[in-house]
Symmetry: C2
Subunit: 278 residues, 2 copies
């Protein structure tokens, strides 16, 4: 094996929506530029498949995930992007994951939260909420991409969400995705964990309704507290909702008895920091 | 009391969004035209209040609902409209309802589903999913309004959702609202009941995600089966979702082991029929 043993290999699949080959090439070029031959980023061909809304049929997305996860030559699985579709994959893929999968580092956010939750619930210890290759499409997206890579490759503490204290356990989700996995087999254990929540493209009345749903849940109430990430691209409410997202978060935290702990440096943007689940 | 005892009195409040006084006047004129003095429809002034998104502050909407519900002179509470906000009202209002409230007939749909669910969960026996006064804004809205009125006043069987069989217990909800009340104190008992679901204005990928959420829920799985109402005003999915809403419903029912029972004649439209919860 020789020098090849020192290469850190990352496999990427798309459990939801399709990714463009062009973006994958940009991700590989940037990885090469930043790490030379020390890091290899491999995109499973499934990323570029298309079946209606999804990056291939359910069974293709399930198979690609299981293949990467159980591959002993790979050190990490990086979800290429979100979109929608991971909830059609997670319950079928996770039972097929072996010890190689368990030893890997995992990262993604947004729709990939269905998988982060399910993996955490299955006892996987190296799961993190953080940037994905698709972030390269954003303004300053290279920063996000390199931050994600730095966490996966060398667990660079500079990538971490800054409020995290040593020994503090966290979970981080898109608010919509968390709402949609509560009460399903993908629900993780919230007990004693700081719960970070962000969202994108949702009306304020929906953010308010999601907070009702999430904070009224008995399992969520066992969390150590909620931190609010960024809510971006909020469409204009008509009439004006008056309350801001932080006022909404405080309202529902107070009503449910969950401590509101302040803001979290996560969101659907280039500044999105890494929140490990362990 | 004399002849006044023969008048059927309906009180209307708006637990979510505001209603226009003009629509209320049209509703009262149509009630007068259809029933003469035999039916009285009273709109609580709260319906016309405004506090940001809502028809008055939370406490105003809670107080109006409790006031109408416990008023011994009223025979029914008819939710004037949906919008958004009933989830901020239900848990606070329901514990204050007395025997007069319990004896009344109740009807609404959409966002009012939070209240229908909570009332059903609290053992109220005369709760129905059906048209509301706000339906008058629709094309052919008078049909919907008069159908709702006929159910409230005389439990007219012609108003009923036609698949309902004698002795069959049902629940009916907007799919989004049901998703958002699962796991909260408003969740009703699904055991042995036919569950009818409709939605409006949601992307197909969201309808799919809601079906994942709802059919993965252990409590929902105890229902007798799901019937799909209309999913209207579905925005264009890009790329095309390929699956129709009925294919989505069948997919998730099959996956979860819940019987798919066919279509239900409910929806956000003038054809919306009445589905009593008893």
């Amino acid at each position: 094996m020789g020098s090849s043993e020192k290469v850190f290999r990352i496999g990427s699949c798309a459990p939801g929506t399709r990714m463009s080959p062009d973006l994958a090439r940009r991700a590989q070029a940037l990885t090469q530029k930043a790490y030379g031959g020390k890091v290899e980023l491999v995109f499973h061909p499934q990323c570029f498949r298309r079946a209606g809304h999804f990056a291939g049929e359910d069974h293709e997305r399930i198979d690609a995930l299981v293949e990467l996860a159980n591959d002993p030559k790979l050190d990490a699985v990086w979800f290429a992007r979100g979109g929608y579709g991971a909830c059609r994959v997670a319950e079928f893929a996770i039972p097929h994951l072996d010890a190689h999968a368990r030893a890997k580092r995992w990262m993604g956010y947004s729709d990939a939260g269905f998988l982060l939750a399910g993996l955490c619930g299955a006892g996987f210890e190296n799961v993190a909420h953080g940037p994905m290759p698709v972030d390269l499409f954003r303004e300053d997206g290279e920063e996000a991409f390199l931050r994600g890579l730095a966490w996966l490759v060398k667990q660079d503490r500079a990538a971490l969400e800054p409020s995290l204290k040593p020994g503090e356990k966290a979970l981080a989700f898109n608010l919509t995705i968390l709402s949609q996995l509560l009460g399903t087999p993908l629900e993780p254990d919230f007990s004693g964990r700081v719960l970070m929540l962000e969202d994108v493209g949702e009306y304020m009345y929906r953010i308010d309704r999601y907070f009702f749903h999430v904070t009224s849940n008995a399992a969520v109430k066992r969390c150590a507290g909620i931190r609010l990430g960024r809510c971006s691209a909020v469409p204009k409410n008509d009439p004006d909702f008056v309350l801001t997202e932080e006022e909404v978060a405080r309202f529902w935290c107070e009503r449910s008895g969950i401590p509101y702990l302040g803001r979290a440096d996560i969101g659907h943007d280039s500044a999105n920091r890494v929140a490990p689940f362990t």
